[in-house]
């Protein structure tokens, strides 16, 4: 057993050394800039990702007029937040927000995941493109939601939206109770990609 772990640890160190050597070699050859890696990754870490969608949701929670504009004309309302170039453009232009309410729960599926607006919602989880999830999401959304730990009361309507090249849907989840004291940034930190697909609810922080 310990030998097995020792081997894995060696491989980990070996890969780390290999990647370091590769980076040094490519920089020495002038093929790779010394900051190229960070520049590329910055795109995923600060420019395009689920933090954009979370900001949109948090604004909608704190500003009812903004929420209405978001529902009426989603791309225009997203553009108001001044995201980096492209976040409200190439992908955002077809976006449409739907709001969960006391009477309605929204679930987003996608038949063509190439249409998934990940610069706003984040990279989709592996099951999202699974044909079984897609088929069951349409046929028995309540059962699927129950399996996700989101049981929906019978009297509440469940609406299923299929994202396509024409419209990429996202959910404005309900603001959790007891979060009146939180500011917009603290609220945004509560919003998960799954909540914006409708397969999760947003909970208040444990300490609240």
């Amino acid at each position: 057993m310990s030998e097995l772990f020792a081997y894995e640890d060696d491989r980990e160190k070996g890969n780390a050394a290999r990647v370091r050597a590769l980076e040094a070699l490519l920089i020495k050859k002038g093929v790779l800039g010394s900051d190229s890696v960070d520049t590329v990754l910055r795109h995923f870490e600060t420019v395009a990702g689920p933090f954009n969608g979370a900001r949109i949701v948090a604004r909608a929670w704190t500003d009812p007029a903004y929420k209405q504009r978001l529902l009426d004309d989603t791309p225009k309302a997203i553009a108001e937040l001044g995201f980096p170039l492209g976040m409200d453009g190439a992908e955002g232009e077809h976006m449409k927000a739907v709001a969960n309410t006391a009477d309605t729960h929204n679930l987003i599926i996608c038949t063509l995941c190439s249409c998934y607006p990940w610069p706003v919602l984040g990279l989709p989880p592996y099951w999202y493109k699974d044909p079984v999830f897609r088929a069951r999401g349409v046929r028995e959304p309540r059962a699927v939601l129950r399996e996700f730990g989101v049981p929906i009361a019978q009297e509440k309507e469940v609406k299923v939206w299929d994202s396509s090249a024409q419209i990429r849907w996202f959910v404005i989840p309900e603001r959790p109770r007891h979060t009146e004291h939180l500011d917009e940034a603290a609220l945004a930190a509560l919003v998960t990609p799954e909540a914006m697909m409708g397969v999760a609810l947003v909970s208040a922080p444990a300490a609240a």
Binding site: E8, R11, E12, N15, A16, A17, R18, V19, R20, A21, L22, E23, A24, L25, L26, K29, V31, L32, G33, S36, V37, D38, T39, V40, L41, H43, F44, E45, A48, G49, P50, G86, G89, A90, E91, C113, S114, Y116, W118, P119, L121, G122, L123, P124, P125, Y126, Y128, K129, T192, P193, E194
Partner: protein, 108 residues
């Protein structure tokens, strides 16, 4: 559809056999070298040193080779282990690296 190379590149992989690990909508790296090698492949392809699709095909091939290994000789699954192999292979194929050049650097 995607105006940025980074988005095009990631999007090509989603839902495919070479789809990268992710957690809560973000790329997931358990070690710094994984983040470095992921970023290197993107930066190099973005700069025109190889076609992204050619790298992807090597990555898919490298993943398939791991899956074909008999249980006895199989190492535990590590996406970025496969990714590193594929990157070196495509760099050698495009002549960015000479065969054996990385080993030489490692021994220096």
């Amino acid at each position: 559809m995607f105006t940025r190379f980074e988005e095009y590149a990631a999007n090509q992989m989603l839902g495919q056999p070479d789809s990268p690990p992710r957690s809560d909508g973000r790329l997931y790296f358990s070690e710094e070298w994984q983040r470095t090698v992921f970023g290197m492949a993107l930066a190099l392809s973005k700069a025109g040193h190889f076609e992204w699709e050619d790298f992807r095909q090597r990555l898919i091939h490298s993943i398939a080779a791991w899956e074909r290994d008999a249980c006895d000789g199989q190492t535990t699954w590590d996406y970025y282990d496969r990714y590193t192999l594929a990157l070196v292979a495509v760099l050698e194929e495009y002549g960015v690296l000479r065969s054996g050049e990385l080993e030489q650097q490692l021994n220096d």
